[in-house]
Symmetry: C2
Subunit: 287 residues, 2 copies
């Protein structure tokens, strides 16, 4: 997905959010915002938005010497998600369609995102969990089921810390011997790193590699060779979250994207209303 002009105010909002989170003083905040404005004025808008997200958050980390601004938020949402996991696993087991329930709950976990909105609370996540099986959902779960059955090699691109514990519900229903997981190599917003994958038990289930890029979404031009090998080899991509959707939705690759449409730009690109839980396919044809 390209960068739309509507993404521009949001870039500034993101920069403001993170300068506040790290408690930057007025002078540093102003310097960061002026830099973001300047850079956004020259950006190639045919690039996906995570390219700018990477720039903003790297700028803040470097200029404020704050290597991991979202560290404590990530830990707290990992704990929260692990705490509710047993209850969610019960919901999946008791559902009429366990795969759809797992897909829905994995998407609910995508609410734990400090890039697209100005924060989310544990209470909001709990409310969405309670409504997960009833809230608006757009997608063809049977088609995902067929694609999984036919795939020899599945690459699962994780999105955020905390959210990855919700992803376990879906992993529980996948042929794990054919799945490799992908996290970020280093802190970017609240995206999951290897540390979070360990904390949430993912590394006990599947091999986990990283994108080799600190963009908040797998922008291929920026990814490392190890990830690219896995990406090329995989015959099915399952990608979580807006960042990965923005980075990969235009690629010719057999992929399903699982995300909550949290901003109006992505909702418009997906042709749904804001807030919808979406399972959408791109690339390879259905069978």
């Amino acid at each position: 997905m390209r960068t739309y002009l509507d993404c521009l105010p949001c870039f500034l909002r993101q920069a403001l959010d993170v300068t506040r989170l790290i408690g930057a003083d007025e002078e540093l905040s102003e310097r960061i915002l002026r830099d973001v404005l300047q850079t956004a004025s020259k950006m190639d808008y045919s690039q996906p938005p995570p390219v700018m997200g990477k720039y903003i958050h790297r700028l803040v980390r470097d200029s404020a010497q704050a290597p991991d601004p979202y560290a404590s938020l990530k830990q707290s949402f990992n704990s929260m998600a692990l705490r509710v996991y047993p209850e969610l696993a019960d919901m999946v087991r008791q559902a009429d369609n366990p795969l759809e329930a797992a897909v829905r709950l994995a998407i609910v976990g995508n609410l734990i995102d400090f890039g697209t909105a100005s924060g989310v609370s544990e209470e909001q996540v709990q409310r969405e969990v309670d409504q997960a099986l009833d809230n608006p959902f757009q997608g063809d779960v049977a088609s995902l089921e067929r694609a999984v059955a036919q795939a020899d090699s599945i690459l699962y691109l994780f999105d955020n810390a905390g959210e990855i514990a919700f992803d376990r519900l879906l992993l529980d229903l996948l042929p794990l011997e054919r799945v490799v997981g992908v996290v970020k190599p280093s802190p970017i917003i609240n995206d999951a790193t290897l540390e979070d994958a360990r904390a949430c038990g993912i590394t006990d289930m599947i091999p986990v590699v990283d994108t080799g890029s600190d963009a908040p979404g797998a922008v291929l031009e920026d990814c490392g060779e190890e990830f690219l090998r896995h990406y090329r080899r995989a015959d099915l991509i399952l990608a979580k979250g807006q960042g990965n959707y923005e980075a990969l939705s235009h690629m010719e690759k057999n992929a399903f994207f699982l995300l909550k449409a949290k901003c109006s730009v992505v909702a418009a690109d997906l042709g749904c209303t804001g807030g919808t839980m979406v399972l959408t396919r791109s690339g390879g044809s259905d069978s």
Copy 2:
């Protein structure tokens, strides 16, 4: 009021709103947005926000050759406001405190603002009218009453088209022989010009001059000599709307500002919650 960093996303939103309103194509919209980003990156943030508002809307008018993008919206809200005026005049007459009712309704009219929000509908205005006497209001009407009684010369700075018909309710209670009204000299967003003052019957009540500036708020450095003479001479300023509050709230002048706190930055500056109807004083001391 200075330009806060939180104003920056809003500048871009304003630019997006107006490029869409005029139906600018993607290429022109992109050029405008890049220019706004570039200019905002270098702006002196000690200046009030209307300085940037002026720049954005002048840029759009010039580069799109759209001299008055909000013309039809202004006309339609003038008509709407004139249509409801008799009913509002009844509300004022029947109120326990007619001056407070007129102040509240004049502030409700300030909702008709296409600068701060992405549009407002006639239905929203009508809903606010219905709740005008009950909704949260912050201000000391008795102090306004005393200031008016003591003033030899009152300058009434109007804000938006449509809204000025609501201002008539307050003008009806003022000593009109001592009041001069102020509009904008040329189109800027949906701010009232002399044409709107005529359409809404204001010119039949009081002399009307203009600021001599196409900023959406009376930024003194940018105003014309005629306006400045009136401003210096007046011993009481009544100023409507966020733009005038932003431009003048830090001045040493006996002034009352009447506005709806429509954005979080202005609400924070005023120390109230968003949406509050505010009558606030600056400059000269109370008596």
